[in-house]
């Protein structure tokens, strides 16, 4: 079966680049992204006060809802989301279409060219 490349098969996540800013979650038309995070204080050498950073705890896309519009990719200021030529597999359980960081990280490793 021929699938043209680069294909918009799925959306991958680079958890290292994500700052938990929530822009993708809030712009998603189908509300299909869920993100969990917490804040931590980081002390930089020489800094007078520690700074507060967001730490990503969880990130999931419900591929049963996703309409593959790519708005989340467009709005991400840190290029933490990208198209992948791979695609989510059919499942017998609708919950099986909710894919978390482990799956999404793997897809980020094989980004499409566009």
């Amino acid at each position: 079966m021929m699938t043209p490349e680069p294909a918009h098969g799925a959306i991958g996540l680079d958890p290292q680049a994500c700052t938990s800013c929530m822009l993708c979650v809030r712009e998603c038309p189908t509300w299909c992204i869920e993100l969990g995070s917490h804040t931590e204080e980081v002390s930089d050498p020489g800094a007078r006060r520690p700074r507060t950073v967001n730490v990503l705890d969880s990130f999931a896309i419900d591929y049963g809802l996703c309409m593959y519009c790519g708005i989340c990719i467009e709005v991400c200021p840190f290029d933490a989301l990208a198209w992948s030529p791979d695609a989510a597999d059919p499942t017998a359980d609708p919950g099986g279409l909710v894919l978390g960081i482990d799956q999404l990280r793997g897809w980020f490793a094989t980004p499409s060219d566009s």
Binding site: M1, M2, T3, A7, G9, P29, T30, W31, D62, Y63, G64, L65, C66, M67, Y68, A87, A88, D89, P90, T91, A92, D93, P94, G96, L97
Partner: protein
């Protein structure tokens, strides 16, 4: 329809063409599935591994009775395939008052195929997930 591979699967697809996904199904059938010679009137019991109701597209509230009726007419063994975001959950129309938020609110879905639309190869993968184990039990 005959799905090549191991095992070979013979499936009767009842394609509910409800929206744009229906076009993708036709393209996928053309590429990946061989038409089987008809050996009886439509809906008659045949030597098939299963009957699949392929729900492709947006299930509007107004169409729910027709979708149910199509399912009730299918002989056993029968399965529902939800093809694409609309049939899975309402997809882009998840919040619309005129759209059912997933055909699984009305029918027992055996395979959810993600995508908007799904890619062609996932149709064959979903048929295999529904009927692969049954087909192996059938005598060749």
């Amino acid at each position: 329809m005959r799905l090549a591979g191991e095992p070979v699967i013979v499936v009767e697809l009842t394609h509910l063409s409800l929206a744009c996904c229906a076009l993708e199904v036709e393209a996928a059938l053309r590429e990946g599935l061989m038409p089987e010679e008809p050996d009886g009137p439509p809906g008659a019991a045949r030597d098939v591994d299963g009957h699949v109701l392929l729900v492709a597209g947006t299930v509007t509230e107004a169409l729910v009775p027709a979708v149910r009726a199509a399912w009730e007419r299918l002989p056993e063994p029968r399965f529902v395939m939800s093809f694409g975001a609309c049939a899975n959950s309402g997809g882009p129309y998840w919040d619309a008052s005129t759209v059912r938020s997933g055909v699984d609110r009305d029918l027992p879905v055996g395979a959810y195929v993600p995508g908007c639309p799904p890619r062609p190869d996932s149709l064959a993968a979903a048929i295999r997930s529904l009927l692969g184990s049954t087909a192996q039990r059938m005598p060749a």
